[in-house]
């Protein structure tokens, strides 16, 4: 218990670091994932190919390797950014592949008849997409996107090993200061639970409001 009280600001800093990483990387992942998903369902072959390659490669890349390549490789091109930014890029790109797949399978769950019916009513492509397909797809993708973002929050722990301020990294300082290592980790675990439970609560609310039982 003492560990938490005496080093509250250190823990708070780490906690906020993880929250920040999670929020920014989630935004990047959602945007990139949406882009890639639209590539993957596009009628143009080369878009589809690009989307497929992006997803296949990133889904099969160990995240540690991606961090290694981004944090140590990109500066070789003269691209020197703060480590936090690199970490957001690595996490965001990695997660975008999973978001993309969740969105795509969501779009695929919308029955073909829905689109056909919309078009037979004379709706344009934008109308079909915006008022018929996406709202239905959105509902079925809430749970998988929620679990993907929870995984993202958990994955952000890797950034700590690459000198980014986040929750797991606080153990180093506390260990140096000679605190009980078990309790240090207990509070780190509690911190992660708070973050993941918050995300899952958030998505439960979303699902209650917009979700459908299929």
């Amino acid at each position: 218990m003492d560990v938490l009280i005496e080093n509250f600001s250190l823990y708070a800093q780490g906690f906020l670091g993880t929250v920040e990483l999670t929020v920014y990387a989630s935004l990047l992942a959602l945007v990139l994932g949406f882009l890639m998903a639209s590539f993957r369902v596009a009628p143009v072959g080369s878009f589809r190919a690009f989307g497929t390659v992006w997803v296949t490669v990133l889904r099969n890349t160990p995240l540690t390797l991606l961090f290694f390549a981004v944090l140590l490789g990109l500066p070789r091109f003269g691209l020197v950014l703060p480590f936090e930014v690199f970490a957001v890029i690595a996490l965001g790109c990695y997660t975008s592949a999973f978001i993309c797949e969740a969105l795509r399978s969501g779009i695929n769950t919308v029955p073909k008849g829905q689109g056909e019916a919309a078009r037979s009513l004379g709706m344009s492509f934008t109308q079909t997409l915006g008022t018929v397909v996406l709202p239905q797809a959105f509902r079925s993708v809430i749970p998988p996107i929620g679990s993907t973002l929870i995984a993202l929050a958990k994955n952000s722990a890797i950034a700590g090993a690459f000198s980014v301020t986040e929750l797991l990294g606080t153990y180093k300082t506390l260990n140096e200061l000679g605190y009980s290592i078990i309790w240090t980790f207990v509070w780190i675990a509690v911190g992660y639970l708070i973050i993941t439970l918050t995300i899952s609560a958030l998505f439960n609310v979303l699902e209650k409001r917009y979700g459908v039982a299929r």
Binding site: L71, L72, P75, F162, S163, K172, N175
Partner: protein
């Protein structure tokens, strides 16, 4: 028809992956040995007299090592001329390694045959000592009171301090006072970087994951100085003495000690004795001259050994 084509394409892909995976292994088309590396030359390194009949029954660590037949020593693997592992041959070399060897000789272990070096990351040094994964640790290990609560320290064997590494042709930087507007590089999250932020906010700080990247950027004029403990900087300067130099008085004090398991006072004091002996008979200076001394900076006087009582 469609299915057969898909299958053939998949088989082709599988084959391609296998070729990529097994290519280098199967063909074995490598040049023998390892790429040339700069490091201390074996013929320049001193030979240490191996103590015969040495006994230290009060030390659990020593007894365990004797039964095992060899010492396991924790070191660093990425600091040239200090503690560096040749990636290809797996050999370790540098000043810290020499200190480890001369102490081993005094404990009755042959430095060439009865030492196993093991890389231990900075964050895990205390752990490795506490649970007996290593017998002692030599690797830019600063003695401080917090660490003394967890491990014991023999020595110090060197008094390091934060300093500056610059290019040989640098004329403006002579010390930390000349850093206004200069780009200074250090390892991300390290103590030297934090000290720089606090004490010299006028410098422009750049950080990378490893010091070797900082040094590379220094050589290619991307940054103007690299800052950390002078030992580490001297190691890089020793690598390319024509291009790099260490300047200015150190602006912090980092006494390097030899980490030992906390309760093992017998081993700690035996190492203190051994260190004093090697400092007196000239081994210490020879080791320095053959490693960090190649940077052009002369050997300093070894610091006074702190034989603190057991607590």
């Amino acid at each position: 028809m469609h299915h057969a084509r898909g299958l053939r394409r998949r088989l082709a892909l599988l084959l391609a992956v296998l070729v990529v995976l097994l290519g280098p292994a199967a063909t074995g088309c490598g040049r023998e040995g390892s790429p040339p590396v700069k490091g201390p030359q074996p013929e320049d390194l001193p030979d240490y007299h191996v103590a015969t009949g040495f006994q230290l029954p009060d030390s659990r660590t020593w007894e365990r090592a004797r039964k095992r037949g060899r010492l396991v020593i924790g070191v660093k693997e990425d600091q040239p001329y200090l503690g560096e592992k040749d990636p290809a041959s797996g050999r370790y070399s540098g000043f810290d390694i020499e200190i480890a060897k001369m102490l081993a000789a005094s404990l009755g272990f042959d430095p060439d045959r009865q030492i196993e070096f093991r890389t231990v990351a900075s964050a895990n040094r205390e752990t490795a000592l506490q649970n007996g994964q290593i017998d002692y640790y030599v690797g830019t290990y600063t003695i401080n009171d917090n660490r003394k609560k967890q491990v014991g320290f023999a020595g110090p064997y060197y008094l390091a301090g934060q300093s500056l590494l610059v290019r040989k042709d640098e004329k403006d930087i002579h010390g930390p006072g000349d850093l206004k507007g200069k780009k200074v590089c250090s390892a991300a999250g390290s103590t030297p970087l934090q000290r720089m932020q606090k004490e010299h906010p006028e410098a422009v700080l750049v950080s990378y994951d490893t010091y070797s990247v900082c040094v590379d950027n220094l050589l290619t004029y991307q940054v103007d100085a690299v800052t950390t403990d002078d030992t580490i900087l001297l190691g890089y300067a020793a690598k390319v003495p024509d291009e790099l130099k260490v300047v200015g008085k150190p602006f912090s004090t980092e006494p390097y000690g030899i980490g030992v398991p906390r309760g093992d006072t017998a081993l700690r004091l035996a190492l203190d004795d051994a260190l004093a002996e090697h400092e007196k008979n000239g081994d210490w200076k020879k080791a320095y001259d053959a490693t960090l001394g190649l940077s052009g900076n002369p050997a300093p006087k070894p610091p006074a050994i702190d034989r603190y009582p057991a607590s």
